[in-house]
C-alpha cells in the first residue's frame, strides 16, 4: 500500500476511511468521469435499435458530428444552416446575457460587499428568496409580465407610450430577461465574496489621492474582484448556454436554443447518439470558450467556485 493511502487509513480509521474513499470514488469516477466518457463514446456510434447494439453494425463513426455541420445526407443544402445558426446564436446570446448580468450585478455586489448595517442581511434574504423559487415558475412569472396582455404591455399601452402591445416574446427580450433573471445570484455571490474581503481603506486611500469614483473601480476594486468576476461570469455563461427551461417557456416560436435541439434529438427523434454528439459539441465548445477567456483575462481555474 502506498504511503499516502496508509496515512489516510491511519488518520481516518479503516472503516471510515473506506467509506470516505468509496463515496469519493463513486462520485468522481462513477458519476462524473465514466458517464461523460460513456457519452463521448456513444456520440461516435450509429443510432441502432437495442437488439443490434454491440452487433456488427455497431462501429465507430463520425456521422453524428458530420450531421451538425453538413446536415442530412443528400440534403438540399451544403451546410446544416439551421442547426449551426442555432448553435452560434446560443453562444452569442449566452455571452450577451453574461455581460448584461455582469453590468447589472457589479454595483449591487459592490454595494453589499462594502456597506455595513443590518439592512444588508435583509437585502441578502431578498436576493436569495427568488433563487429558491422553482426555475419554471420564475420563467412563468416573466411570461405573465412580458405576455401580450401582460403587465408591461398594459402599462405602456395604458400610459399611451405605445399604441400597440410590443411582442417581447417574439423579439427574445423575454428570453434574455428570463435568463438574466435566473442567474443573478450566481453572478452576485462570487463577486460579493471577493469584494467583501477588500479592505475599505484601499478605497479610502485611492479617494484620498484624488481618484474619481470610476477610476477607483477600474484600478482598485475590479482588479481585486477579478477572481469573483470571472467565477460569476463562467457560471452564468455555462448555465445560460446550457439552459433549457427558460428557452422552452420564454423563447419565441421561431427561435430555438441549442439545448432544445438536443432535447428534440432525445425525446422527439429518439436519436440518442445524435443528441449525445450535440451535447458533446456544446460542452466542449463552452469549456474551450471559458478556458480561452480565462487565458485572455489571466485567471486561474482554482478561483472558480470560491
Amino acid at each position: 500500500m502506498p504511503q499516502f493511502l496508509k496515512d489516510f487509513f491511519n488518520r481516518n480509521g479503516f472503516g471510515m476511511g473506506l467509506a470516505i474513499l468509496g463515496l469519493v470514488l463513486f462520485w468522481t469516477i462513477g458519476l462524473i468521469i465514466l458517464p461523460q466518457l460513456s457519452m463521448l463514446d456513444f456520440s461516435f456510434r450509429p443510432n441502432l435499435p437495442p437488439p443490434e447494439i454491440g452487433g456488427p453494425k455497431d462501429v465507430y463513426t463520425l456521422e453524428n458530428y458530420k450531421y451538425l455541420i453538413y446536415g442530412p445526407e443528400g440534403g438540399s443544402q451544403d451546410y446544416n444552416a439551421v442547426d449551426l445558426r442555432v448553435f452560434f446564436r446560443t453562444l452569442l446570446a449566452a455571452v450577451c446575457v453574461t455581460i448584461f448580468n455582469l453590468i447589472l450585478c457589479y454595483p449591487i455586489a459592490y454595494y453589499l460587499g462594502q456597506s455595513k448595517g443590518s439592512h444588508i442581511r435583509i437585502f441578502a434574504i431578498m436576493l436569495i428568496i427568488p433563487y429558491w423559487i422553482n426555475e419554471i415558475l420564475r420563467a412563468f412569472a416573466l411570461r405573465i409580465i412580458f405576455g401580450e396582455t401582460g403587465v408591461l404591455n398594459t402599462l405602456f399601452v395604458g400610459l399611451g407610450i405605445w399604441d400597440t402591445p410590443f411582442d417581447f416574446i417574439r423579439n427574445d427580450i423575454a428570453l434574455y430577461a428570463g435568463l438574466g433573471y435566473a442567474y443573478i445570484l450566481l453572478m452576485i455571490f462570487p463577486m460579493y465574496n471577493v469584494i467583501e474581503s477588500l479592505d475599505g481603506n484601499q478605497i479610502e486611500a485611492a479617494r484620498d489621492l484624488g481618484a474619481p469614483w470610476w477610476r477607483i473601480h477600474w484600478r482598485v476594486v475590479i482588479p481585486y474582484a477579478k477572481p469573483g468576476i470571472s467565477s460569476g461570469c463562467t457560471m452564468v455563461f455555462m448555465l445560460s448556454a446550457g439552459a433549457l427551461a427558460a428557452p422552452q417557456i420564454l423563447g419565441g416560436p421561431s427561435s430555438l436554443w441549442f439545448t432544445q435541439l438536443i432535447y428534440q434529438q432525445f425525446n422527439d427523434n429518439n436519436d440518442w447518439p445524435q443528441g449525445a454528439a450535440y451535447a458533446i459539441v456544446l460542452l466542449v465548445t463552452c469549456i474551450l470558450f471559458v478556458l480561452a477567456m480565462m487565458r485572455l483575462f489571466k485567471v486561474n481555474m482554482g478561483d472558480i467556485g470560491k
Binding site: L23, L31, V151
Partner: protein, 421 residues
Amino acid sequence: MNNSFLRISIWVYLVIFFLYLLGPLVIMSVTAFNSSAFPRMTPWECLTFQWFGELFQDQRILNGIKNSLIIGAGTVVLSVAMGLAGALMLTQIWPKLRATYYTIIIAPILIPGVVLGISTLVFWDRINRMLGLGADSVLSNGIFLTVIGQSTFIASYCMLVLVARLQRYDVALTEAALDLGATHAQAFRKILLPFMRPAIASAAVLAFLASFENYNTTTFTFGEYPTLTIELAQKVRYGITPSISALAFIIVALTVFFALLNEAKLKRQELVAAARKQATVEELAGKIKLPSFFAGNMAAVLLVVFAVATITVVGTATAYNPGQCIANVKEQKRLEAEQRIQELRKQREEQRKKREAEEAEQGGDQQSAPKPSNNSGFGNVFAPNTLGGDTEEESSGPETPPSNNGGFGGAFDPNSLQTDQ
C-alpha cells in the same frame, strides 16, 4: 461628481434592481387571486380562491409533488454524503493530486444540466445492458436515474458549503477524542458531525431546493416518475392557468416563511450567546433568563406579521364567496361581447355597403378587403382567428377574456391553445 447625486442614483438603482428581482414574483402571486382564467393582474376581475381549489384537485400536480419529495430525499442523502466525503478528501488528499481532484469535483457545477442528464442516462443504460438487466430494472428506474443525475452536481454545491466549515475544523479535536478512547467512527459521530451540523443542515436544504427545482437534468432521466418541475413545465408550455400562480404563491409564501424563521432563529441564537457570556454561574446552573424572543429581533417581528397575514388570508378564503362578483363580471363580459358583436356587424354592414358602392363605382376590379382590427401585421399566424376558427362565435362565449387587443397575443390565451392539446 456630486455626492448626493451618487447616493440618489445608488438608491434608484437598488429600487430598480429589486423590482426586477422581486416584481415578477409579486405579480405572479397576485394573479393567483384574480378570477380571470388567464393569469393576469389587469384588468382585475374578482378576488377568488378557486385556483387553489383547482390546484389541490390536480392529480398530476399532486403526483409530481410526491415524486419530487421522494427524489429530493434521495438526493439530499446521497449528495450530502458524497459532498462530505469529497470535502474530507479535499482537506487531506496528496498535495500533487489536489488541483486535479478539485477540478474534477467542481466541474459538475459548470457542466450544463442537459449534458449531465444525457450522460447519466446513456451511462446507466449501458451498465444495465452490460449486466443483462431488463428495461424494468432498478438501474433504468426514473427515480434512481434522477437521484443519481442530480446528485452528480448537487454534491459539488454541498462540498463547497461543507468544505468552508471544515476548513475551520481543528483536526486536534478528532485526535483528542481518539486519544480519550473513542474509535474513529465515534470520533466522527460525536465530534466532527456535531461541529459540521450547521453546514450539513445548510447543504441539505440547498440540496433539496436544487433537486426540487431542477429541470434540465431531470427532463432526461425522470422516466415514469415526473417531478413537480416536469409537470409544471408541461403545463406552462401547453397553456397556462392561474392555478400555476396559486402553486407559485404557496411556494413563495413557504420560502419567505422559512427564510424569516431561519433569520429569527439565528438572531435569537446570537442574543442567547451574548446573554450567556454575561451570565453568572448561578444563572447558568438553573435559571438562565433568555431574552424575549422578540427583543431586537426584526425577523421575528416580521415572521409574526407574516403568520397573522396568512391566517387572515386563509380565514377570508373559507368565508369569502366570490360567486356574485364572478357572475357580475360574466354578465359584464357578455354585454361587452354582445356590444362588440353588434359593432362588428355594424362595421361589416358598413364595409359591405362601401364595397358595394365601390364595386359599383370601379366595376369590381379590386378585391382587397381591409383586415378587421388586427393592428400588428406579423401576428396573424397566432391570432385567435387562425387557430380557433370563427372568432365571433367564440368571443360570444362567457369564458373569453374581454379584450384581446393585439392579434398575436392570443397565442398564450388558453382558448387558442385548446386546439393544440
